[in-house]
């Protein structure tokens, strides 16, 4: 009998491949006595998304920066990179280690799971005393209302990038000169215009793929369609599809347009089928992993790029290596933003970029001091953002930022991806950017935008997480087929099937639960 038990245990071992690791290390640190003690030299590691640079220029810049940091706060900075491949998983996993690998963590409430990580205990609560003592300039520069938006359960977890103008609402960047050739005198102003544009490009420029999508933009496309055809304002951070929200007229009544706006979705499905038939993307778009659409756009192999305004500001500028502008002096890049038809544009949440301190950090005080310098000290700021003056950047007569003649992209470029505390007070405008077009666009946005209304809403999803997971999965599976016109049967059938699946997965219950939490917060 004993033998049998042993054998059974052995068999269990063979099949048990459980991944159960993780330490129960507690990194809880309270504010402590708030004295500035910099007697010991420490290393502060800052974690960011992005590929690790290999040309050595970043290290050179850091050496310069560390001279200043050592002098001022007796600390040095190191950068920990999370490569873009599966970045969200690696990012969360690195935070879950909780072994003090990282001190400062670049994060975001809408694209980097800031709130789930705060809830999971990965971030340190930043008490007011701590902020006042160790990051006084940051504390002063952020308004009390903005600090409110960085709180969860009454504790501050994030230091927001709230003084930096940028727009990350999505849309399509396209060749304005080609759109004009296609008969769209003002450029693309609607989804229907896009159809005309793509059809024209396909017929006139057979070597150009209108848009070499890799099949991942389904969520942006249908989200953009909904924005363009309603007053929908989505709640960030619930799921990747941003499937719940209110309307501009009635912000605090939660609904999901994916359930209610059936006719609109059917129309979307039909138009995407048309795009697929035109040949806007490759036939096997859903398995296309080899495309590099943005780079291809710069050299004229494709005719559109679906991404946000910030990316467009780059694409519309005549920078080195952007050969479309060299080859064709008439080339221009326009931007059709989602919501253009209905004037539905929501400004960026201030926690689209923010810095947090890891709960496992051994030197949270010093980390805050370093961040305060990076964000507010002009010398540190320029080093971490632009590099060494005279090497990576310089100023022209008008005080704008230019690249020195000696600058070589391969050997001199730095990667710090410091998107968590940029500061317009210290920014130097980039002379290579097409500011005429960009300022015009920003002015247009400023006229119609509304501020992100749900900044203070941190949903409690424990009870509905299972449903949300399943809903996200359904959304992904159906929207990939719908948004790339790959569905079988009619548009009406596939939308009905999609909505039935959503209902079966409990989308109505999730909406009701969110409404309950909204009522508790806003009423």
């Amino acid at each position: 009998m004993k033998k049998k038990m042993l054998a059974a245990l052995l068999a269990a071992t063979m099949v048990a491949g459980l991944t159960a690791c993780g330490s129960s290390e507690t990194g809880g640190k309270s504010g402590g006595d708030l004295k500035v003690d910099t007697s010991e030299h420490v290393k502060i590691t800052y974690m960011t998304t992005g590929g690790k640079p290999t040309n050595g220029a970043t290290e050179e810049m850091l050496a310069e920066l560390n001279k200043i940091l050592t002098e001022k706060v007796n600390a040095e900075l190191e950068i920990y990179y999370i490569d873009w491949t599966d970045y969200l998983s690696v990012y969360n996993l690195t935070l879950a280690q909780m072994d003090g690998t990282v001190d400062l963590v670049g994060t975001a409430s809408d694209w980097l799971d800031a709130w789930p990580n705060a809830k999971n205990g990965a971030f340190l609560e930043l008490s007011e005393d701590m902020l006042k003592t160790y990051a006084p300039k940051t504390w002063e520069s952020v308004s009390p209302e903005h600090w409110e938006l960085c709180k969860y359960n009454g504790e501050i977890y994030l230091m927001p990038e709230d003084n930096y103008a940028q727009w990350t609402n999505h849309g399509f960047a396209y060749r304005l000169d080609w759109a004009k050739e296609a008969g769209l005198a003002d450029g693309v102003k609607s989804w229907e215009d896009l159809t005309t544009y793509f059809r024209y490009v396909k017929e006139t420029y057979p070597d150009v793929i209108p848009w070499d999508s890799d099949g991942t933009q389904y969520g942006q496309m249908v989200g953009g369609w909904v924005t363009s055809h309603s007053n929908y304002v989505a709640i960030d951070g619930l799921n990747a599809g941003a499937m719940w929200g209110g309307t501009k007229d009635d912000l605090y009544t939660v609904y999901s347009p994916y359930v209610t706006d059936t006719d609109s979705l059917v129309e979307f499905a039909k138009m995407m089928k048309e795009w697929d038939e035109i040949g806007v993307w490759k036939t096997d778009v859903l398995n296309n992993t080899a495309s590099d659409n943005r780079e291809d756009y710069k050299i004229g192999r494709v005719a559109a790029e679906q991404h946000h305004t910030q990316t467009w500001t780059d694409l519309c500028s005549h920078k080195a290596g952007y050969t479309i502008y060299d080859d064709d002096p008439d080339a221009e890049t326009g931007f059709f933003y989602f919501g253009e038809e209905t004037g539905n544009v929501v400004a960026l949440s201030i926690t689209h970029g923010a810095m947090a301190v890891s709960a496992a950090s051994k030197n949270p005080e010093r980390a805050l001091m370093v961040y305060d310098l990076l964000r507010n000290d002009p010398d540190c700021y320029k080093l971490i953002n632009y590099g060494i003056k005279g090497k990576q950047w310089d100023t022209d007569e008008s005080g704008m930022r230019i690249q020195p003649a000696s600058y070589n992209k391969d050997t001199d470029s730095i990667t710090t991806n410091y998107w968590w505390g940029r500061n317009d007070d210290l920014e130097i405008k980039d002379a290579t950017m097409n500011w005429d077009a960009i300022d015009k666009m920003y002015a247009e946005y400023d006229k119609i935008k509304i501020d992100y209304p749900y900044g203070q809403f941190v949903p409690e999803v424990d009870n509905i997480q299972a449903k949300i997971n399943n809903i996200s999965e359904i959304h992904t599976n159906y929207m990939k087929q719908i948004a790339f016109g790959k569905y079988q049967g009619t548009a009406e059938e596939i939308v009905a099937e999609y909505q039935n699946a959503l209902k079966a997965a409990g989308i109505d219950e999730v909406t009701a639960e969110l409404q309950k939490q909204f009522d508790a917060l806003y009423k």
Binding site: G17, M98, G215, K282, L286, S472, T476
Partner: protein, 319 residues
């Protein structure tokens, strides 16, 4: 070892030895087992308490045992998705096809290799079959895509040049069970056949010699000597493989099929579904719950199969 066995042989056993006496007596054998024992202790038994993570709402700072107990809530998502049956069915059917076809083909290849008399040809063919085993699944995915894609794929270029219709497997779910099995066999057969080839080498040469003297032809030799000789190996490998019957080959499916929902009806297995549903919000607890579900089913499968094998022929059972 020699001293121990000698002593045992000299003094006939009159009373039963205690556990520790046995440990002492077989100490050298145990020492030889030690690396394996340590391996299982460290990587299979030590993490077992961590299964508990499947029943808590995991929080980094409180750790596995400090987090809040939530009972079976982590399993809920698996059952409410309504996909569990389809996923389990796909996983099991694919694994059955892999196990059965894989073993049969491996035995077939091993016998062929055994019959080849030309030494260099035997070596070369064995090596060539072995090589695909070392190709990373990521590369396999790229290879398959470049062979099969609609616009620029190798197969379609040939079809078009022959004046035939293009073939679009990436929008046709029905062809993937066949394709995936072929890809799997291409990768694994060389490796698996080595095991069987070794087993054939282990068959007593005298039996084969005697059969030849008795006038058995080549076919009879295979049918009555080699195949029965391979039976124990086959049964053991089968039982081992059955333990993993609800664990899918994630690398193969994820890289070859990718995230193309058109193909999910026939290609979605538990692993790929869980990856998509849980990786985006990084939920350790749910993922562990799924792991536990798979392990429990695997454990039951092994126990049941072993029981059946034992009923038929106790010599072939694992325990």
């Amino acid at each position: 070892m020699s001293r121990g066995t000698k002593a045992a042989a000299l003094k006939p056993q009159t009373r039963k030895m205690t556990f520790w006496q046995k440990v002492y007596k077989y100490r050298v054998l145990l020492l030889m087992c030690l690396p394996a024992i340590l391996f299982f202790l460290a990587f299979s038994y030590a993490p077992m308490p961590g299964i508990y993570v499947a029943f808590v709402k995991y929080n980094y700072r409180d750790g596995i045992f400090g987090s809040k107990f939530v009972g079976l809530r982590n399993f809920e998502f698996l059952f409410t998705s309504g996909k569990l049956l389809e996923l389990t069915r796909n996983t099991i059917l694919y694994n059955l096809a892999f196990i059965i076809l894989g073993n049969v083909l491996a035995i077939f290849v091993a016998i062929l290799l055994n019959e080849i008399r030309c030494k260099w040809f035997k070596k070369v063919s064995q090596t060539m079959m072995f090589l695909p085993y070392f190709i990373s699944q990521v590369l396999v995915g790229v290879l398959v895509y470049n062979l099969l894609n609609y616009d620029y794929g190798f197969v379609n270029s040939i079809l078009v040049n022959l004046g035939l219709e293009r073939w679009g497997p990436y929008s046709d779910a029905s062809v993937w069970p066949v394709l995936l099995v072929i890809i799997h066999l291409w990768q694994q057969t060389g490796y698996n056949s080595v095991v069987y080839f070794a087993a054939i080498m282990g068959i007593d040469a005298e039996i084969i010699e005697a059969a030849r003297v008795d006038g058995a032809n080549g076919w009879q030799k295979i049918r009555y000597i080699i195949l029965p000789g391979l039976k124990p190996t086959f049964v053991i490998l089968l039982l081992f493989a059955l333990g993993g019957i609800v664990k899918g080959n994630f690398g193969l499916f994820y890289n070859v099929v990718g995230k193309n929902p058109l193909l999910y009806p026939t290609t979605d297995i538990i692993e790929t579904y869980v990856y998509r549903a849980c990786m985006t919000d990084f939920n350790f607890a749910t993922a562990s719950a799924v792991g536990l579900y798979q392990s429990v089913i695997g454990f039951c499968t092994v126990m049941v199969c072993n029981f059946i094998v034992k009923k038929i022929d106790p010599d072939y059972s694992l325990f």
